[in-house]
């Protein structure tokens, strides 16, 4: 247990020490929120769907957690190449604990990052429909963070170098984001798009956030949890398994 804790603490310390990075990674969500929020606001309103900022803010928060969690998971790659990973791999601790500590640390720091962006959203004019549901929204944030930190660690255990990282970025992370309905409503999509969005785990995360924060839902709260919670377990399990197979 102390191994899990100390590695969790390490991730958190690294996060809080990278102040520049924290600020820098607020930039992109902010751009989406402001540029799209105001840019598409008029069209969205004309279509009779209300405020676009209200609609897109949960999407932007989910996006932040997706990127931040996946990348902290994949950061394993850096540790692998620059040595620190070896220090943990020769430690007399089951590999699964090491993976778990890292993943939970990554999930925690991305949740914090998500909360920072949420704060920025509120400053930009976003208002939750019901403040009493905000804790539930945060619970969703944590769930999303664990799912994608697990996925990131799993991928990080399999990759050897940065070329693979670009592939993951273009063929996994970006599609996960764009097909999640973070930026557009999921109803009324053509067939193949509909299938793709239904297969995107982040879609359930975004939907969960929307159902708790702006009282709009596509899949329904229960289905969102029913998809995400088992998925978190599966990714962590697979990640731990891949991690235990690492040879350097």
């Amino acid at each position: 247990m102390s191994a899990i804790y100390i590695l969790w603490l390490r991730e958190l310390r690294r996060y809080t020490r990278s102040r520049v990075q924290i600020i820098a990674s607020l930039g992109q969500p902010l751009l989406y929120l402001i540029a799209l929020g105001f840019g598409l606001g008029a069209v969205f309103r004309q279509a009779g769907r209300g405020s676009y900022i209200q609609f897109v803010a949960p999407g932007v928060i989910a996006m932040t957690v997706l990127f931040s969690a996946t990348f902290s998971g994949i950061a394993l790659l850096w540790d692998r190449q620059f040595g620190f990973l070896k220090e943990t791999l020769v430690a007399p601790v089951p590999r699964a604990y090491i993976m778990l500590g890292r993943t939970l640390g990554a999930a925690t720091s991305s949740t914090i990052q998500g909360l920072l962006v949420a704060t920025v959203c509120v400053i930009a004019g976003f208002r939750p429909a019901d403040w009493t549901l905000v804790p539930l929204g945060i619970a969703f944030l944590v769930l999303i963070a664990v799912v994608f930190a697990g996925l990131g660690t799993m991928i990080g255990s399999m990759l050897k170098d940065m070329q693979g990282f670009q592939m993951v970025m273009n063929f996994l992370v970006m599609p996960l984001f764009f097909l999640s309905g973070a930026l557009f409503p999921l109803d009324g999509l053509p067939g193949p798009m509909k299938v793709a969005t239904h297969l995107d785990p982040l879609a359930y995360g975004v939907d969960g956030l929307r159902s708790t924060l702006i009282a709009q839902t596509f899949f329904g709260y229960a289905l969102d949890v029913a998809v995400l919670a088992p998925l978190a377990a599966v990714f962590i399990g697979l990640g731990a398994w891949r991690f235990s197979k690492i040879q350097v």
């Binding site: 102390s2 191994a3 804790y5 100390i6 590695l7 390490r10 310390r13 690294r14 020490r17 990278s18 790659l77 850096w78 190449q81 620059f82 040595g83 620190f84 070896k86 220090e87 943990t88 791999l89 020769v90 430690a91 007399p92 601790v93 089951p94 050897k160 170098d161 940065m162 040879q247 350097v248």
Partner: protein
Amino acid sequence: MINVENLTKKFGDITAVDSVSFRVPAGEIFAFLGPNGAGKTTTIKMLTTLLFPTSGKIEIDGLDPMRHQNEVRRRFGIVFQDPSLDSNLSAWENMELHGALYRVPRKLRRERSEMLLTAFGLWDRKDEEVQKFSGGMRRRLEVARGLLHTPKIIFLDEPTLGLDPQTRNQLWSYVRDLNQKEGITVFLTTHYMEEADRVSARIAIIDHGKIVALGTSQELKEKTQKATLEDAFLALTGTALRDEASSAQDRMRAMAQMWRR
């Protein structure tokens, strides 16, 4: 303490380590020398549970590293060829992390960390982030960390690479001291022949994955009729230059320099 029989590691068609056998008794300082790409690091990785052998037998303190991974891991400390500190953490936090991973009780962890950091001249800067440390300081910290859990064996894979003579001297005198006082077994590799000559009791020379000579420095010199260990080493391994293929790791380093992460 270390017992290796017919150890072999193949990567595809390449045989990195080819049927290597040797024994290191408890309390000995054993040097493992060879040109680049000879199989030194691969051997160390197999001894330290990081890599599975293709065939052969290893015993560390009587235990098989493949079947009793965690028991074996508890018994050794290691300083890797590449840096393995977390440079965003302070020296103290690196020690703390290591102690927690090895389940050294908190009180003992603190005492030993203080003792080791003082011995390696790092106590005054224990709260600074490691990224502010010089190469020599990092190396010293890695050795200190490797000793925190009082291992029976310490593996030192080119620990003095890129260090100035002062630091090298200090490091080896500490290692020798430790060997004499605590009876710790030392398994080292280095490219500095005079270091191996001075510090180690016995020397194995490995080339192309095979041990080409094993004995005391004196025996190796006599065998090759040379005056210095360096000449003996060259006589045994030839003077041809060795090129290692650029690895994924080298490419990552180049990339990281660009990204400055």
